[in-house]
């Protein structure tokens, strides 16, 4: 499916949004149907498929053992990577990660890292020598808009699903998962609010995503603490915009949290 973009089309979207109309009949602050299925990849230590409407992403966690960073000898590490697979969108190409993939991965990473969802001290094995390394990979299966929120949700669902593999005599036995889970101290949820014209909306379709003026991703923990923000798009935001967008994100995050 090719979506052509021009000013007329954008004006059409804005006029419709001004009347609270979206092309799939949703309200501006309404998400498409969300589903979360965990344990979808037996080779991963934890995994989840998240569907938001026609958007499908899969996240997998691999646990490996490595050396801690020299300046943090008693901590393990987490790493988030996003693969915008060419399978999921005709515009994606094979090759090194695009700037979109890098931004997506870094924003998801910040939500997890800064909320301290994972206590990295608990990933330590031997001070200065050995620690667990949680490697999270998010792969897109179908991109029908809203990849960021779907990826963040898939990530936290996959982390919650993670079981440590057996570790004996300094060797990991990936075939045997133990009952030990990756304890999550917090459950961060990310919601991206888009501004098109003077309208705010969530969970954009592809056509809306290609025509937005500005966006704000807000990651929040259970107690509504903000743990990561990312402003995107070509147009600036006023402080009033920011305040209202955070309110929308906070309300939506509470709804999305039910799926984890």
């Amino acid at each position: 499916m090719v979506i052509t973009m021009n000013n007329e089309f954008k004006n059409h979207i804005i006029q419709a949004l001004d009347m609270n109309v979206r092309s799939d009949g949703r309200k501006l602050d309404e998400f498409r149907e969300i589903s979360v299925t965990t344990d979808v990849s037996k080779t991963a230590e934890g995994s989840a498929i998240v569907k938001v409407g026609d958007t499908v992403v899969i996240a997998g966690v691999k646990l490996d053992i490595g050396a801690p960073f020299p300046d943090r000898p008693d901590e393990g590490a987490i790493m988030v990577n996003v693969e915008l697979l060419p399978l999921s969108n005709p515009d994606f190409e094979p090759g090194p990660p695009s700037i979109e993939a890098i931004e997506l991965a870094r924003v998801v990473d910040r939500g997890i890292r800064e909320s301290r969802a994972i206590d990295v001290k608990k990933l330590a094995i031997k001070k200065g020598e050995k620690c667990w390394l949680a490697q999270i990979d998010i792969c897109t299966i179908n991109d029908a808009g809203s990849l960021l929120d779907a990826s963040a949700l898939a990530t936290i669902a996959a982390l919650k699903n993670t079981r440590f593999p057996a570790y004996e005599n300094e060797e990991i036995d990936y075939k045997n998962k133990t009952d030990k889970t990756l304890e999550l101290e917090k459950i961060p949820v990310s919601v991206t609010v888009f501004k098109i014209g003077k309208n705010y909306l969530v969970d954009p379709l592809k056509e809306e995503e290609k025509n937005y003026d500005a966006r704000l991703t807000v990651a929040l923990t259970e107690d509504n603490t903000l743990c990561a923000l990312q402003k995107g798009g070509e147009l600036p935001l006023t402080t009033d915009d920011i305040s209202r967008m955070i309110d929308i994100a906070s309300e939506k995050a509470a709804e999305i949290r039910k799926y984890i």
């Binding site: 499916m1 299925t37 979808v40 990849s41 037996k42 080779t43 991963a44 230590e45 995994s47 498929i49 569907k51 026609d54 499908v56 899969i58 997998g60 966690v61 691999k62 490996d64 990577n81 693969e83 697979l85 060419p86 399978l87 999921s88 969108n89 005709p90 094979p94 090759g95 090194p96 490697q135 990979d137 792969c139 299966i141 179908n142 991109d143 029908a144 990936y174 075939k175």
Partner: protein
């Protein structure tokens, strides 16, 4: 100890449980999901579409371009580093060669048909699963094909000739193991993929190929059914897990 009984109780000629579905990726022109045991493949077809860079174009017919990729968490051991490597490039190439004999791209000069194969979890036999998924996806995209290519691995574990080896059988170390992935075009009774690693006699190989052909006939039926189901239920959900 000799390997006389398969560790999962399968008969020698028996494949693992297979599940196939067409039309699982809405953005794609054609797509499929193929699961055999714990090996899962998604395939998406995009095209015919413009081929760049231009020097790769063929003015006499369209180009088939396959791209096999393991998701980073899909390996049996450590994380697989994302991106192409020597193994995935070779598999992409043999996948193209396995499918080319059945597909007619003469109507699409200078264009490309892209096939992206992605594996979220593997337990041996991933190139064969990828070929099976790719054929369904190409048919789902409406391209002219004279048959669906079906693929399975055959081989030898110790003294037993078996079909559809899983990881544990491939890694058997108390006796010789041979792994022979084949792709079979049932309409013409031809083999379009043949690779082998391990040790096997010619007689054992020929016996294995015959068993593989029979298994491929069954896989072919499952592939056809996936396509028929797609059109019996065109608005069916995209749920495949």
């Amino acid at each position: 100890m000799t390997y006389e009984k398969r560790h999962d109780q399968r008969r020698p000629e028996e494949t693992r449980v297979i599940e196939a579905k067409a039309g699982v990726i809405p953005n794609a022109d054609g797509s499929a999901y193929f699961k055999i045991g714990n090996t899962v493949a998604y395939a998406a077809v995009y095209g015919p579409r413009d081929l760049h860079p231009k020097f790769m174009q063929d003015p006499s017919k369209g180009v088939l371009r396959c791209n096999y990729n393991m998701m980073p968490f899909s390996g049996m051991g450590d994380r697989v580093r994302p991106g192409a490597n020597r193994r995935s490039k070779e598999i992409s190439m043999v996948t193209e060669k396995a499918i080319l004999p059945v597909i007619d791209l003469s109507d699409y000069p200078n264009a490309v048909v892209d096939v992206f194969i992605e594996l979220p979890q593997t337990d041996a036999g991933s190139r064969c699963a990828g070929i099976c998924a790719a054929s369904i996806a190409l048919a789902d995209a409406g391209l002219s094909m004279k048959d669906l290519v079906s693929a399975v691995s055959v081989g030898k574990v110790d003294k037993m000739i078996v079909v559809d080896l899983d990881y544990e059988e491939e890694a058997y170390d108390d006796g010789p193991v041979a792994d022979v992935p084949i792709a079979y075009i049932s309409a013409t009774d031809e083999i379009s993929l043949l690779q082998m690693d391990g040790e096997i006699t010619k007689e054992e190989l020929m016996k294995g190929i015959e068993m593989g052909k029979k298994a491929c006939l069954k896989i072919n039926e499952i592939q056809k059914k996936a396509l028929k189901d797609r059109f019996n239920n065109p608005n069916g959900d995209h749920n495949e897990q």
